[in-house]
């Protein structure tokens, strides 16, 4: 009997019990699967240079891409505004997917509504769905703002959000003065980072288009699409508070995706208020912490007379230095001793550990700005970010990456791969091995196939809990990233040296 009440076996050990091993072996013989030797032969071939060349020659098929579609970014950025409900116009299944996806990463509720368009709407357009949908959403969930984006279905049939929302208001779905910003977010253009940009621009356009700008000394910061936003936005705000700067985060999801368990379900929590969003027009400057999440938004802001600046996921020493110096320059506030102390502590930690990091080779994938910021920090540790891949990275990003590599003697053998997917990454890792892989949960399949240890620092992280609650930005965040790298390196050495009387001479107690 494989199972028992006293010691309940979960799936992993249960199916390794002899009864199941025998049953599965019998099933295996009846499945008409390829012979084991054939599978082995093909498996080895998939890790060859020959296969790599075939793999990189494909121009149509995408296998295990590391990107999502526009509306995900749209609902993410909208979640960062106070009591804002995302309303996605189009098929309803998409919304079920965004909600699940965000909940699985943040381990938090994700509340989004759909206009639930079906075949009749595909023929006649989704105006009635918009009219009824806005009214239902407004009546049931009582948001301060409804941010409308689109699924590809509504885009293909050409529904006009501006006209639909105007008509809905005329029909009394929501009060005339109720804020319903919108953005068209076709899934077949760009990725989730594009959707972030479009929706944010939609929200700013909504509040700013008819307003006059009266310049102030405040600054705006746009965090961008970030799986670590809970920890990172809080760290960013802490640094800004320490500097005594007046600022507004344009979209801050840190409270929305980190609500307490105290007996109350908060559908909405925190976020940028409508007042702050309106005021943000007057700011002196807007800084985007992720260039590739905000090209259109920043362009529009610049047109309104603000200074703008781009950063790439401010991770590590120089990434943080650069951001703080820019903030200091814009606001006239000096970088305080407190932050300088934190910087010194990060450098101290780097110096203490440099022998374990120097010369380590890495593969990194994720959104373009994350990959840039991560690679930059790796170079600071003396590591080599050999394979840097962003499925939603373009040629301009590749050039920026190459310039980064050229700036360090550790960058000689590094290469950026824009528009490639994780099946390409598999070929890279199989043919040109590296010590460590940095990415998201899906990287575990690469770890399984090629044995490169995975460090989870990018969205989405489904199979580890709560990492996103701690920052990776700033000097404090740098410390956390450093410890994460080191833990993986030390754990690997321990695993490799743990066999008694064979390898355990190197199973050292002090390192």
């Amino acid at each position: 009997m494989p199972q028992s009440a006293e010691n309940v076996l979960d799936h992993a050990p249960l199916f390794r019990q002899p009864e199941y091993v025998e049953m599965l072996a019998k099933k295996g013989r009846e499945e008409n699967m390829p012979p084991r030797e054939k599978t082995k032969e093909v498996a080895d071939w998939t890790k060859s240079w020959e296969y790599r060349e075939k793999n990189f020659a494909r121009d149509s098929l995408s296998v295990n891409p590391a990107k999502a579609c526009q509306p995900l970014g749209a609902v993410f950025v909208a979640a960062g505004f106070d009591k804002t409900l995302s309303f996605v116009h189009g098929s309803q299944g998409c919304v079920a997917y965004y909600r699940s996806h965000l909940s699985r990463h943040f381990k938090e509720p994700s509340s989004i509504v759909s206009s639930s368009m079906t075949e009749d709407a595909a023929v006649f357009g989704g105006l009635n769905n918009m009219i009824d949908g806005l009214q239902n959403a407004y009546s049931l969930y009582k948001p301060n703002m409804i941010a409308v984006s689109t699924t590809c279905m509504a885009e293909v049939i050409g529904d006009d959000l501006h006209a639909f929302i105007t008509t809905s208001k005329q029909k009394g779905s929501v009060p005339e003065a109720f804020d319903v910003p919108f953005a068209h977010t076709p899934a077949f253009v760009g990725s989730h980072t594009t959707g972030y940009d479009n929706m944010l621009k939609g929200i700013l356009d909504h509040f700013w288009s008819k307003a006059e700008r009266t310049p102030s000394d405040s600054i705006n910061l746009i965090p961008g699409f970030d799986g670590f936003a809970v920890g990172n936005n809080r760290e960013l705000k802490r640094m800004l508070d320490v500097m005594g700067v007046k600022y507004t985060l344009l979209s801050d999801v840190s409270d929305q995706f980190d609500t307490p368990s105290d007996g109350e379900f908060r559908m909405f929590s925190g976020g940028t208020t409508i007042e702050a969003t309106k005021d943000a027009l007057n700011a002196k400057a807007t800084l985007s912490l992720q260039e590739y999440c905000t090209p259109k938004t920043l362009g529009a802001i610049a047109e309104r007379g603000q200074e703008t600046a781009n950063f790439h996921y401010p991770m590590g020493v120089a990434g943080t230095d650069e951001l703080l110096m820019k903030i200091s320059e814009l606001t006239g506030k000096a970088i305080p001793a407190e932050l300088e102390l934190e910087r010194g502590r990060l450098i101290d930690a780097l110096a203490d550990s440099q022998a374990w990091l120097h010369g380590k080779t890495y593969a990194i994938y994720g959104d373009p700005d994350f990959v840039y910021g991560m690679a930059r920090f790796i170079l600071e540790t003396g590591g080599e970010p050999r394979h840097c891949l962003a499925t939603n990275g373009n040629a301009a990003w590749e050039q920026q990456m190459q310039a980064l590599f050229a700036s360090s003697e550790h960058g000689n053998l590094c290469k950026a791969w824009g528009g490639r997917d994780l099946w390409h990454m598999r070929s890279l890792l199989a043919t040109e091995k590296v010590d460590l892989l940095i990415g998201n949960s899906y990287g575990k399949y690469l770890e399984r196939d090629v044995g490169t240890p995975l460090i989870r620092l990018a969205f989405p992280i489904f199979d580890r809990h709560h990492h996103h609650r701690f920052p990776t930005w700033g000097y404090q965040g740098g410390l956390r990233v450093l410890v994460t790298l080191l833990d993986k390196i030390f754990d690997k050495i321990d695993v490799d040296t743990i066999i008694p009387a064979v390898t355990d001479y190197s199973y050292d107690i002090t390192r």
């Binding site: 199941y20 995408s62 509306p71 299944g93 997917y97 239902n136 307490p260």
Partner: protein, 498 residues
């Protein structure tokens, strides 16, 4: 187990919750909410004396209202996510933009044995990743190229399915022509599936479309080598979530049957192709696969039988019901299996029932679970306060009447607003639903288990699974965290929970 729920209170609750809706929507939602009533008339009601006889008369399988936060998914989810996705030695292309395949990638825990990326492909995301030019000029050329690239890079794939996303049906692509052409060139099975997300009102139509595509593009297309025995059965509608199908198969084989196909968890194309050669189809998830069973009955004269492998009372009843269709050898086998596992059942109940006795449960799931797991909870002494289906049809609610007791709250395609209010008012000891419901419920201080993915646990089917199920429900309800919600300095307040 004999108990009733307070139907009057549940009716009043429905009225109260509906007040928040605008008139038009209130009228429509009203029809989806109800209370199980005693049913003396329906001939079906007394079909199975062991089960309850109530009537769950709610409207179902119609369009969700816009803007209300339905939990439902789409036809693509029903086809790629449920029916086709688990078939392990085929490549399933998410045909269209990148998102659908991305969000559903590796999320249903359809366990399988194989070398992923070489001879099996379940936990991979293959997509045509549509760009604007594909929408404007059509995607058939790209699809052809993608199929060629799959055949080159994944030579051991036995076949390919094309899982249509929304744009495909809107831009007039002819994926059937592509499938035929590529089948001719490569000799491999290529199945076009018209499961665009806007079709139908939920996942349900996607199941149906996927079933039909098996009928039209797999059955009788290639010669099937097969030596039959009198004991050949197919398990239909078990997706092997957390290993469910394995924990079921072991029982069927122990009683002397031969499982020649498992649809579709851990399945190969060969298992699908040879299914009509079996003697009996055993269907677990009726909702998602009854269509193909009815087809096999009509075309091949193959009977089918519904069964339920959740919880010992239903497992034993199911094993006996299945054995009835065979000779004495199998009947004896069923009794042998039931007797063999009885000590395990007794020990599980002895350990967990005292910790769960009388605890109330609210369910909101899809497929078969809103009714099938009811008796598993009752085996542990727990009671069901409410249940409902994301995408059930009228025949599901009829069958539900055989399971639930009088006064049970019934909710079809429940909205997040309604479910939240129902749960807050009833405050059950446990809620079983999905990932989107999990965190809102837990914030209220109410224990929760995901009943789609088994909350990353499982199997829950079979006797071995029942032990895990019982342990998991105990863990969920009796974890100390629920006692920590209120800070000690607030526990003295009037009305504060201890």
């Amino acid at each position: 187990m004999s108990y009733t729920n307070d139907g009057g209170a549940h009716k009043a609750l429905i009225e109260e919750v509906l007040k928040a809706y605008p008139d038009k929507s209130r009228k429509r939602r009203q029809k989806h909410l109800g209370v199980a009533a005693v049913d003396g008339e329906s001939p079906e009601a007394n079909a199975d004396e062991a089960l309850g006889h109530t009537e769950c008369d709610v409207k179902s399988n119609i369009k969700s209202l816009p803007g209300v936060m339905t939990v439902r998914g789409c036809a693509y989810a029903g086809s790629k996510g449920v029916v086709w996705g688990p078939v392990k030695d085929m490549v399933h292309i998410s045909h269209g933009p990148v998102g659908c395949g991305q969000y559903s990638w590796s999320q249903r825990r359809n366990y399988y044995i194989g070398t992923t990326g070489v001879d099996t492909f379940v936990t991979m995301q293959f997509t045509t990743d549509f760009q604007e030019k594909d929408i404007v000029f059509g995607g058939d050329k790209k699809l052809e190229k993608v199929i060629d690239e799959i055949n080159e890079l994944f030579p051991l794939a036995k076949g390919i399915t094309i899982q249509s996303e929304c744009p495909i049906g809107l831009i007039g692509d002819d994926i059937e022509a592509v499938a035929k052409k590529k089948n001719k060139e490569s000799g491999k099975t290529i199945v076009p599936v018209r499961c665009e997300g806007f079709r139908g009102v939920s996942q349900s139509l996607g199941h149906h479309i996927a079933n039909d595509s098996i009928r039209d593009w797999v059955f009788d297309k290639r010669p099937v080598e097969f030596e039959s025995t009198p004991y050949d059965v197919n398990v239909i509608g078990d997706y092997n979530i957390g290993g469910d199908a394995w924990a079921s198969r072991i029982l069927l084989e122990e009683m002397g049957l031969r499982v020649v196909g498992n649809w579709s968890g851990d399945a190969t194309l060969t298992e699908i192709e040879r299914a009509p050669k079996g003697k009996l189809n055993l269907i677990h998830c009726y909702r998602s696969m009854n269509y193909i069973c009815r087809h096999m009955e009509e075309k091949y004269g193959m009977p089918w039988l519904e069964y339920n492998f959740f919880g010992p009372s239903q497992i034993a009843a199911g094993l006996r019901k299945i054995a009835e269709r065979f000779d004495d050898k199998i009947k004896e086998g069923a009794e042998r299996v039931i007797a063999k596992y009885q000590p395990l059942v007794d020990a599980v109940i002895a350990r967990f029932r005292p910790r769960l006795e009388g605890k109330s449960v609210m369910l909101y799931v899809g497929g078969l679970r809103p009714r099938h797991v009811v008796t598993a909870y009752e085996d542990l002494g727990m009671v069901i306060a409410g249940t409902g289906y994301e995408f059930g049809h009228n025949d599901d609610y009829q069958r539900t009447g055989h399971y639930v007791k009088e006064g049970t709250l019934i909710y079809d395609d429940v909205t997040a607003y309604e479910l939240d209010k129902f749960i807050e008012a009833i405050r059950p000891n446990l809620v079983g639903s999905g990932i989107k419901e999990k965190y809102p419920v837990q914030k209220l201080g109410i224990p929760f288990r995901q009943m789609h993915s088994w909350d990353y646990s499982g199997p829950y089917h079979g006797y071995d699974g029942f032990a895990i199920f019982a342990r998991d429900m105990d863990m969920a309800i009796n974890n100390p965290v629920w006692g920590l919600f209120k800070p000690p300095w607030k526990r003295g307040e009037v009305g504060a929970a201890e």
